[in-house]
């Protein structure tokens, strides 16, 4: 199989449609299962009561906000290095979804922080760096709209995305580098999880749901972007009519 075939928007367009449909179905199934575990099966937390149930959306949204930015930065690097149109379109398609995930991370965090920490917002290291992540996404989207020529916008956005990637390790290690309000990691690759199994299961299922959701919406968006930007190509009229 020749993988480079799919670097062409014409051959990627139908493949993206198939992956998006499968991901959407997976997202629905996983979300139903994850919400059932998180809201019904998982017991009340001993110290936080029911307020802790925000964890099942807060952690997946926060992880996806960072991970989507990482993927966007990788596509941006490919777009700059190989000057491939589709890589830039993938980066373009990921930015709005990443921005929404960053917004949800901050929003759900605020509504978790108020009952547990006593405040909706503090200039804590992790919260502030996540706010900067949201602004980076919004900056990339604004830059895209500010540059009329799409190929120049591709390069400008790719550069901004790569420079902004320095914020990712800052977010990730913020709870270790600075001793401010946000707690340390409960789940990491290097140690056993510091939470009950059923709670961990619910959180992981919701994370996979968020993952499938982000794939489904960003691939659907990239299909629209391909049609919008390749409108002059003959194949676009053919698939649009089909």
């Amino acid at each position: 199989m020749n993988w480079f075939r799919y670097a062409s928007p014409a051959s990627f367009y139908p493949l993206a449609g198939r992956i998006a449909r499968a991901s959407a179905a997976a997202a629905v199934i996983l979300a139903v299962a994850g919400l059932a575990i998180g809201l019904v099966v998982a017991p009340t937390d001993a110290t936080q009561g029911e307020a802790y149930r925000i964890i099942f959306i807060h952690v997946p949204a926060s992880w996806m906000a960072m991970f989507v930015y990482f993927v966007m930065a990788v596509w941006s690097a490919l777009a700059l290095g190989f000057n491939t149109r589709l890589s830039a379109m993938m980066a373009q398609a990921l930015a709005p979804t990443g921005a929404l995930m960053a917004f949800l991370a901050l929003w759900t965090g605020a509504f978790w922080g108020r009952p547990t920490w006593g405040t909706y917002w503090a200039w804590d290291a992790r919260m502030t760096s996540t706010l900067i992540l949201l602004f980076l996404y919004l900056g990339v989207i604004a830059l895209r709209h500010a540059v009329a020529d799409p190929r120049r916008a591709d390069r400008a956005c790719a550069l901004l995305s790569l420079v902004g990637a320095v914020n990712l390790p800052i977010i990730y290690f913020s709870v270790r580098w600075w001793n401010t309000l946000h707690q340390g990691a409960s789940v990491s690759l290097s140690s056993a999880p510091k939470m009950a199994t059923v709670m961990l299961t619910g959180m992981l299922v919701m994370t996979f749901a968020a993952w499938a959701y982000c794939i489904a919406v960003s691939l659907t968006r990239v299909r629209a972007i391909i049609l919008e930007r390749e409108a002059a190509a003959g194949w676009v009229r053919e698939v649009a009519t089909a």
């Binding site: 925000i54 949204a61 509504f111 659907t220 049609l227 919008e228 930007r229 002059a232 009229r237």
Partner: protein, 63 residues
């Protein structure tokens, strides 16, 4: 059921958080579907020779 909705007194916080996620997920799903449909309709109507400047630029400057 009302006990479930009350969330042990944390209803405001829990449902404001979950509600925002629901609104965002539904809105974004609808938005990308509308955008894809609009792009299909526009592509069907586009005469490649009379393509918009951006699309013409892409055709003349293939990556």
């Amino acid at each position: 059921m009302s006990e479930f909705l009350a969330m042990g007194g944390y209803a405001w916080y829990v449902w404001m958080a979950y509600g925002a996620v629901a609104v965002v997920v539904v809105a974004e799903t609808l938005a990308v579907r509308v955008r894809l449909r609009a792009a299909r309709t526009a592509a069907r109507r586009t005469d490649p020779a009379a393509a918009p400047p951006a699309a013409r630029f892409e055709r003349e400057n293939p990556a």
